[in-house]
Symmetry: C2
Subunit: 193 residues, 2 copies
């Protein structure tokens, strides 16, 4: 069997796992569920993966890598603080439109990670929040963002962005563009001085 097929098979397993983990949760999804969706026996999957946990790890860190890439680009830009926040909102909407189920799993199932993975993921989350808080702090000091508790502003933004995930799962009444526009209007106005 060629290497390429093996890589694709692995990708297929991860993709199907992401769909099932989102739908039923990590613990409630059995390796047999995944295998059935991929079209092989559960035992056969272990030629492509090391463990069920490894699948979850792959999904979670793939998502965090992606968000960090976007954040780094925004940080390195010469945008003003409030424009950076706006760019972050856009980045979240975009990522969710493209990779909804991965983001969903990372958001809801990361607690099921084990040992070092769990510790590392927690650190990753903290770092993301810290770097976003720094942007908000800049805005506060520049006088363009309200002088409120930075953590409350931060989590108010992050939670609204997290919700978008549910939007794209359950309903699709409006387009991503309209969603983005409305959301920026609400969130930016909410924190602008």
């Amino acid at each position: 069997m060629s290497n390429k097929t093996k890589v694709n098979r692995r990708e297929e397993i991860i993709e199907m796992s992401a769909l099932l983990f989102r739908e039923k949760g990590f613990k409630a999804t059995s390796t047999r569920d995944i295998a059935e969706k991929v079209g092989m026996e559960a035992a056969s999957m272990y030629n492509h993966i090391q463990s069920k946990h490894e699948i979850l790890e792959t999904i979670c860190f793939r998502v965090s890598d992606r968000y960090f890439l976007e954040l780094s680009n925004i940080e390195d830009s010469d945008l003003l603080p409030l424009q950076k926040v706006q760019a972050i909102i856009r980045a979240h909407v975009k990522t969710l439109t493209l990779d909804g189920c991965y983001v969903s799993v990372a958001n809801n199932e990361w607690r099921q990670l084990k040992d070092n993975s769990l510790i590392k993921f927690r650190e990753t989350k903290r770092e993301y929040e810290k770097r976003m808080a720094a942007i908000i702090q800049e805005g506060v000091e520049a006088g363009t963002i309200k002088r409120l508790n930075v953590s409350v502003i931060l989590f108010s933004l992050l939670s609204s962005l997290r919700w978008i995930e549910y939007w794209f799962n359950d309903r699709r009444e409006i387009s991503p563009d309209v969603l983005e526009e409305n959301l920026i209007n609400i969130l930016i106005n909410g924190i602008s001085e």
Copy 2:
């Protein structure tokens, strides 16, 4: 054994379950985990509960009952739409301060409900959203809330409120009062015309 003791024992099981379900998730919590925390054998719990699922049902519907009670009071008041939204925010902060772990479980684990419970809980969620949307719609028509997509406003609010739960679990840097004040400032300003 008196009825009173039996009721208290049941409450104890539900309380400990809520703590464990929040921490590890419903599926990842075994009846033996719960029993250990309560201080009895797993088999003994079945004198007080019917099944592990029944515990989850009790928690979820207790929370939704509570939220509906608050919402009904607010609807029946003669507050203006924007003041009603503000009252809802206060109600959420209050409930989370008092019953954080129950709310947390209802928010994150309701998907593990089965059959009729799952269907009923979904309907309950939808109704809550519908009634909150009606208040927002009133505000839009009165010209006090921005004429944006009502669903986006609704979920932007709800997701920010949902996040408070994490706040009270992980960190407690600021007091509930300051949190409430900051949050109302951000959210109300975000949607006000």
